[in-house]
């Protein structure tokens, strides 16, 4: 079936199978920031936004995205780069494989939560797994980026 989505602000028509998921559709369309880590809905690496909400693209049927607005990291380039610089400064980019999904979730959190506590941040990010960092560097980077240093220090 042919669907039409607004991909990063541009109208795009795509042919999709009835049982195809957005992670595959977007990659086939050349959107390389969308990666599959676990393919069992557990790791958060394939996070994109549908209508501004963060969702797992490996669990969102493409056919249902018809007429919807989809945002990937390519559509948030400047913001993503700004946050990535903070990640690098904190030494928490590591291998970088999980970064796109992680960055998409952080940018969604920035829009959704007002002045989050450390607990709010950790809760918002539980769906993003990272095998390298141990999360502390990421947490430091997020707090720096969001300007929430007034909250309790990382332990």
């Amino acid at each position: 079936m042919q669907i039409e989505i607004i991909l990063n602000g541009k109208k795009v028509a795509m042919n999709v199978k009835n049982d195809e998921y957005l992670a595959d559709t977007l990659r086939a369309h050349g959107v390389s920031s969308v990666r599959k880590g676990c393919d069992t809905t557990c790791c958060g690496l394939c996070t994109i936004w549908i209508e501004e909400k963060p969702v797992l693209s490996c669990a969102a049927l493409s056919i249902r995205a018809n007429g919807k607005s989809i945002t990937t990291m390519e559509g948030l380039y400047n913001e993503a780069e700004e946050f990535a610089q903070v990640l690098v400064a904190e030494g928490s980019e590591q291998c970088g494989f999980c970064s796109p999904g992680f960055i998409m979730t952080v940018l969604a959190m920035k829009r959704e939560l007002n002045n989050p506590t450390e607990e709010d941040i950790v809760h918002y990010l539980t769906g993003n797994l990272c095998r390298c960092t141990g999360y502390m560097g990421q947490l430091r980077a997020i707090k720096k980026y969001l300007g929430v240093m007034q909250h309790e220090p990382c332990r």
């Binding site: 009835n18 049982d19 669990a59 049927l61 056919i63 969604a108 918002y124 539980t126 769906g127």
Partner: protein
């Protein structure tokens, strides 16, 4: 990997139901997160997303949650956070992550009667009801005891009252499946103890609830927890043995009762 031959987006529940039952291997699609883990060969997938079932409504007597409402909407709903000590919202907030909870739906989760379900345990303790297209309205407890059948879950109803509740769960790590979960509620002097992830589907500990309702005493907390753990059956899987679950059930029941007692 599961496959879908035809994809239907009906505009009415009647049309959805008729499509569902027209062929044995037709299936309803909720969020599609669980279906994708299996290998079902679906002839026609009946997508409910055009039926307007995505809502949490504050009715005169009930809170009504439409089948297509996502777990994230349940987690963040001020109405649910402010009722029953926030137990419904609390029960879903440790499931995988936000990106997952923005997809999965209450209709699929309740209809499927998953043994590991966090949400069903909380709803059961609150004496919730379900509305099914074909079978009509019934208590969640009755629905759970019925054999599996073909139908469409339309909504979940929770009676609005002064019920106070607590949800407790034990996991190996956050976002893993629960090893055991417990929800306890109290309305006046009537207590309900529900235990799930045994790993069988959630059930009310009837005897313990009755004893607790008839003669509550702080000194006997241990006793009520013991009755609950004795009357229910527990099983073993890779997350825990039956014995471990039974022992942890006692701890969680006790904790939940104590938390309810602290509710204002």
């Amino acid at each position: 990997m599961f496959t879908i031959k035809e994809f239907a987006q009906p505009k009415t529940i009647e049309e959805a139901y008729n499509t569902l039952v027209s062929k044995r291997n037709n299936a309803v699609i909720g969020g599609s997160a669980f279906l994708r883990m299996g290998s079902k060969k679906i002839a026609t997938a009946v997508d409910l997303s055009k039926l307007g079932l995505n809502y949490i409504k504050d009715r005169a007597e009930h809170i009504e949650i439409g089948a297509s409402t996502t777990f994230r909407e349940i987690e963040t709903s001020p109405l649910l956070i402010n009722h029953f000590n926030g137990v419904v919202s609390n029960s879903v907030k440790h499931i995988i992550g936000i990106q997952f909870r923005n997809i999965v739906t209450i209709g699929a989760s309740v209809f499927s009667k998953y043994g590991f379900s966090d949400l069903i345990t909380a709803l059961l303790a609150l004496d919730a009801e379900v509305v099914l297209y074909q079978a009509g309205r019934m208590s969640l407890n009755d629905f759970l005891e019925r054999p599996y059948g073909r139908d469409i879950l339309i909504s979940v109803l929770i009676k609005k009252n002064q019920r106070q509740a607590s949800y407790q769960h034990l996991r190996n790590s956050i976002s893993d499946y629960p090893i055991i979960n417990v929800a306890v509620s109290r309305l006046d002097n009537q207590w309900n103890i529900a235990v799930g992830a045994r790993p069988q589907k959630a059930a009310i500990a009837k005897k313990a609830s009755e004893v607790l309702s008839n003669s509550f005493s702080l000194e006997h907390l241990e006793h009520y927890a013991d009755i609950a753990a004795e009357e229910l059956t527990f099983g073993s899987n890779e997350r825990g043995t039956a014995k471990y679950r039974q022992a942890m059930c006692k701890v969680l029941v006790k904790r939940a009762i104590m938390e309810v007692l602290l509710c204002k």
